[in-house]
Symmetry: C2
Subunit: 301 residues, 2 copies
DNA sequence: GTATGATATGAGACAATTTCATAATTCTAA
DNA sequence: TTAGAATTATGAAATTGTCTCATATCATAC
């Protein structure tokens, strides 16, 4: 049974127009074509679709069943086409974000919350669990944006600057290092360092400070959640280094002290990696703008 | 955007097969054809449906949207086709019944109740309100069976005998005519006759007895519901004539008396009118058989 | 870099759909 | 009942679209 959308539209039109000739008018097609069409369909289906005894062609029981299908299916198709047209002119799209940095959740959530309000038709998601091959995933269109602090030169991918931040040393206020105005690589000797559970290269403390200085802490404890890290730090089970937008919330708590890394402080830059094709999509630039604003808000205090 | 079912099947197949070449195999079609097909679709839609950067062709965000449509729509189409195939081999169908006689509800309901059990796929309905042009409606396929006691010769329509019945006189046991062993046309003179609200020609009392004898009752009261007619008769507000399958339930009640019409009794025959095309449909003959059985059951007491 | 597997493209063959012209119905109203 | 109008059916030719075949191009892995 060789059913096509054309047939569904025909059935619907004949029913609405109340006859084949009128339906042909509406569809801008010959009456003959419609006649051939339904004849072919009836032959294929082996079922009479219309009552021919009466003159303005009328649907039979089977015809009504087909009409019902048309009434179910055609709107679904139109809905999809509407979405495609939104997609074409950039009102809709997909924004699946991969984040390489654990702590980024803190600012990303509020950003996405705002984003959702302006871009209801964009399908937003955060995809954890591909911390390391995020860039290949970006190229394969498995994700649409990667938050990263290690820009690479990669054809088809652009790294757009998001904002600068400082990795900051955090310890319990009772901790000996709290006495110093800043901490240096050497100060980590003998300390227990609490980090996110990722490779050292991806952790600012290591890549920017300890590896260059060839310093090894006494112990490393890996913890998934930022809140838990802070908890452990507060109870003096170790020290940590976290981005400024995270320590903000404990900066003025008497339980913690926060200190710059090195006398001059360390500054890092965060990037959004997007495919060059998507770079100029309105909702992409908008998301990046929102991220900058949110970061500034978290850092200004 | 020239979407066709073929495209939906293709999208689905490519997704399931995980690539275009494999999908082509499954669909018994050239890989080339599929390539042309999706290219055409992408041009029309103005949207990329697949990610071409990676080699085993993969769905893009838009492609997934289309896949979702395919997964919604294709099963609906298959369901309809299954119904059509049921229709072709007679497991499904429509059985909209028009009844010309009011009292037929009494036996028709139990019949349909049984019918529904054996023929779940048949769409059953009773269509009241076309008491008089039921036969034209049958020809126009607005209904599929007409219960009638006045067979006509009509091309394309067959009258199948259902069962015989007797119109029976009913009165309150206190009524004077209760003394007689049977009632004649003349006995209706001076009586109040309670009937269904239809033309005289369609009422057995008139067509079979009063019109031929040129007798006019003192008054006629028209009542819709059988139960109400019996109520009025019981309280001696008039007499009535009802089919034997109806009076059965009051025959042994002390409130009523039932008497034959004329010394020999009057017999009528009920027919099912169906289109000749449908005459041999299994579910049609089955319904007629059920009707006969039910009538016999109601009449045998 | 080359081999291999996968997708794209162009031209021609083929099939399905539409149109045109006209026939055959059915309906309507006198 | 019978024109006449309106509606649907049909056949053949034209058109359009889809598929195949052959081959090019591209991606990936070794």
């Amino acid at each position: 049974m060789h059913l096509e959308f054309r047939h569904l539209r025909t059935i619907k039109a004949i029913h609405e127009a109340g006859g084949l000739a009128r339906a042909a008018e509406i569809m801008n097609i010959t009456q003959s074509a419609l006649s051939h069409q339904i004849k072919g369909l009836e032959d294929q289906a082996g079922v009479e679709l219309f009552v021919r005894r009466s003159k303005p062609l009328k649907l039979s029981a089977a015809g009504f069943r087909l009409l019902r299908l048309a009434q179910q299916v055609l709107p679904q198709v139109e809905a999809m086409q509407a979405e495609f047209s939104s997609l074409r002119d950039g009102r809709a799209g997909r924004m699946h974000i991969a984040i390489e940095c654990h702590a980024c959740f803190e600012w990303l959530f509020p950003v996405l919350e705002k984003f959702r309000k302006s871009w209801g038709e964009v399908d937003v998601d955060i995809r954890p669990g591909l911390a390391f091959d995020a860039l290949p995933a970006l190229l394969k269109e498995e994700v649409d944006l990667v938050v990263s602090s290690d820009p690479e030169v990669l054809p088809g991918v652009e790294f757009v600057e998001l904002f600068d931040y400082a990795p900051v040393f955090v310890a319990a206020s009772a901790h000996p290092l709290a006495a110093q105005p800043y901490v240096d690589a050497q100060d980590f000797r003998g300390q227990t360092l609490i980090t996110y559970p990722v490779e050292r290269q991806r952790l600012d403390v290591f890549s920017q400070l300890l590896i260059p200085s060839k310093v090894e802490p006494a112990a490393i404890r890996q913890v998934e959640l930022t809140a838990v890290i802070l908890l452990l730090v507060a109870s003096n089970r170790g020290v940590s280094v976290l981005p400024d937008w995270v320590v903000r919330e404990v900066k003025y708590s008497s339980d913690y002290v926060t200190r710059p890394l090195t006398s001059r402080g360390i500054t890092r830059r965060l990037y959004a990696a997007v495919r060059s094709d998507d770079r100029d999509q309105k909702f992409v630039t908008d998301l990046i703008e929102l991220a900058r604003i949110e970061a500034r808000r978290l850092q200004e205090v």
